[in-house]
Symmetry: C2
Subunit: 467 residues, 2 copies
């Protein structure tokens, strides 16, 4: 038996951070702007104000080191689920044959939020700012539904209408999340839908189109332009969302200090748009850029079916499939690329956060890929050893943490490994069922498919010398 008393590290409610940590001023190469698709030039603030709540736009371009968390937002976080626990994975260590304290695995448990993932950390903030702006509705896209249910929860707190375009494949496969969103009074549509021009174009090609995050973003963006009382809300990729998630890494640092650990050796998170990974690692990456614990390895983990960073190209691309929104510079598989239907719906995005791209280009962080069978297998191993069933997205981080621990064991190294347990898998049980019955497919993305998507005529040509 393991010593369970060492296994959960608590914080006091008043230790929940009072500010978000901004990494933009520390980036080794300058932050790239959002670009207006009309003229290929940096989007003027008016354009961004027409899409997002005002305060979010200001945070997007802020050069401040930290940004205060509004009292009301912090109050809600503290009264509902923060601070979240940091667990020492003693059960998993035992399962891996790791004894003693040379190798320690920790995970930050974001699954304890009301909707079961890290997403409310930014949803609550965005809904708060929307209310402040006098808005009446936020509209968004969702894949597996973690973000959609997070935003539905946030909007409901502030009596704002929430509309969600949900990727059709998930809409059908994961009815639970849809019902959860509706229980918070959100309006949920399968995407592509007949409610937008973008959606209609895809339905015309294929009435049963499975959809993608890129298409759903196009529909949500189009919907947001219906009225001046509606804005678009994004659950990842952009700077201000990553900023709101830094509460995760700040708490984790404090919790590690409480058990005498000044710095972890490895920090791991799964990457879709990049927000849960960034939320955990930004405080550590900021330290690293400032010469503190510069040895820390920071690893983002992608599915082999959609490896935007590991196999994509760093270039200008649309964030959405129908080219409705701004152009961003990021690692991308091309906005026309439709990923295979892996269960980790939140990782099925063709691009990645620009901040994550810049950190990767400058070797501040690295990236790994795993197949969904290996990931879900690691998730099941984790569930048996630690008791909590992870979301398919999260299993990718777990697989990497296990690999890192086993490598350290073989090489007889001392190592502190920290990963983000971004969400539970209670709405994704089909993935586990299929794994257990041997019916889970692995998808390896062929290089030709990436080349084809990147060579599409629709890929934007941006002349940076014009900025």
């Amino acid at each position: 038996m393991v010593d369970y008393f060492k296994a959960r590290i608590f914080l006091e409610p008043n230790e929940v951070p009072k500010e978000w940590v901004n990494i933009v001023p520390d980036l080794p190469t300058p932050m790239t702007p959002l670009v207006n698709p009309m003229d290929g030039k940096p989007a003027p603030p008016e354009m961004a104000f027409a899409i997002f709540p005002k305060e979010c736009v200001l945070q997007e371009v802020s050069q401040e080191e930290t940004i205060p968390i509004p009292n009301k937002v912090r109050e809600i976080l503290v009264s509902t689920y923060r601070p979240t626990p940091l667990h020492r994975a003693l059960g998993l260590e035992k399962e891996l044959g790791i004894e003693g304290d040379d190798i320690k695995i920790f995970y930050k448990n974001e699954s304890v939020s009301p909707t079961g993932s890290h997403k409310p950390n930014t949803a609550i903030a965005q809904a708060y700012y929307a209310k402040k702006d006098g808005l009446e509705e936020l509209v968004t896209e969702t894949g597996a539904g973690q973000w959609g249910s997070g935003l539905a929860y946030g909007c409901n707190l502030f009596d704002i209408k929430c509309t969600v375009y949900m990727v059709r494949a998930s809409f059908i496969q994961k009815p639970g999340r849809k019902i959860l969103m509706r229980s918070y009074d959100a309006e949920v549509h399968a995407s592509p839908s007949n409610l937008t021009e973008s959606g209609k174009a895809f339905i015309a090609k294929d009435p049963d189109h499975p959809g993608s995050l890129g298409i759903a973003i196009s529909e949500a963006l189009e919907h947001s332009l219906r009225s001046d009382k509606i804005r678009y809300s994004l659950g990842s990729v952009v700077n201000f969302v990553l900023l709101h998630q830094t509460i995760i890494g700040q708490e984790a640092k404090l919790q590690l200090e409480k058990v005498g650990i000044k710095n972890p050796d490895v920090v791991i998170g799964c990457m879709g748009g990049g927000s849960n990974f960034a939320g955990l690692m930004i405080p550590f990456a900021k330290d690293k850029l400032n010469g503190i614990n510069s040895e820390v390895e920071i690893i983002g983990v992608e599915p082999r079916a959609c490896p935007s960073v590991c196999k994509g190209e760093y270039r200008w691309d649309f964030g959405d499939t129908s080219m409705k929104g701004p152009i961003v510079k990021m690692h991308t598989l091309g906005h026309t690329f439709i990923p295979s239907p892996i269960h980790a719906g939140g990782l099925r995005y063709h691009g990645i956060a620009p901040i994550v791209s810049i950190l990767y280009n400058n070797k501040v962080i690295s990236a790994e890929m795993h197949h969904q069978n290996e990931a879900i297998g690691a998730g099941l191993q984790f569930a048996k050893a630690e008791g909590i069933l992870p979301a398919p997205e999260t299993t990718h981080a777990i697989k990497e943490a296990i690999d890192q621990a086993l490598k350290a064991k073989e090489e007889k190294e001392k190592k502190v490994i920290l990963f983000n347990f971004s969400g539970h898998g209670f709405f994704d049980l089909l993935a586990y069922k299929n794994y257990m019955t041997g019916d889970l497919e692995n998808y390896e993305l062929p290089t030709e498919e990436i080349q084809r998507a990147l060579a599409s005529e629709e890929m934007p040509k941006i002349d940076e010398s014009q900025f």
Copy 2:
């Protein structure tokens, strides 16, 4: 907006209780024994030892005021999910038009356990005792699956095999819980099954028999007799299970004291077998029996489709449908009664804990009934106001808490209301979907049906004068 900082009351890890609270020595009329169906006399200890782990049998008949929680059990509780939060339902109060501090609604949130309900509180203890006895397997029944997944989790912690007979209707309707149990390596069978004589008899009558908790108990009991390394495990009804749950009420008392509340006015829980209700209320009922806060109202809530206490008879009856187990004295609808298929599967039990029966007979507690539409409607109102989606079982307690609060508001009374939030509804979303689409049926149990079940020839005749 409400003041969210008042809304969650924390405890320190070292404030998790070190002992369980036993109400048996305080009961106003003596505890009734388990009776041997063979001779109609109190079951000898050997009989109980053949069914349950040894320490559990000793706890079942203990007259001690308190019983120490084994260190290992407490360590696991503290390292995984305890103390659980106590929430002030400020969102719900606002929704009900309650202002100020005259009426306060609190709920104890047991949904934060790894399997999402209060069940691990006893599952961990039972698995620990089973391991201590050198057992290799625990076998049990489950309805909606809260208990089955709780025990699967507990057994997995101690490397004991877990076998679960799951009521067939739920096995089909709630595939999620089945996959969760299997992810902890449990073996799960639809009940009635072809694996036991009891099961075969029901399948012979109807190959698609929907099953019931009473039938599943019979199968599990029969299975437990296969080997001396197997014992039966029960998730409610008997004294030692209620004892293990008293950790809930003890924590809640301490948490209320932290916000200056010495005693609540109303304590509420939903009742199936009675364990979550008893776990919350026993510390308060024990006080009441000892002249402390004797005004407290303690209310157990049943579904109208299965009102064992409100409409059943207090008499000797079998705990299981096939008359394999001991006979107990309790409020019962008759062991042959098959309840309507309400979504609150955990409340579909023909009887109730003997301790709860005795407290009810002596007017220490009272009971109420609600229809499932009203309950699920209250659950949805709660989800919107508080953010957490309740299990269908839990919604019955919520409905009663809302009614009590509205009554106090109308009568301009001061009132502190406390209820047990026994579990979340992430595995029970169909109930909410059907409610929202108007497809949820109400079932009122006809008196003739109860009379028929209670008049069955199979009802045991016990002569207490022979004891």
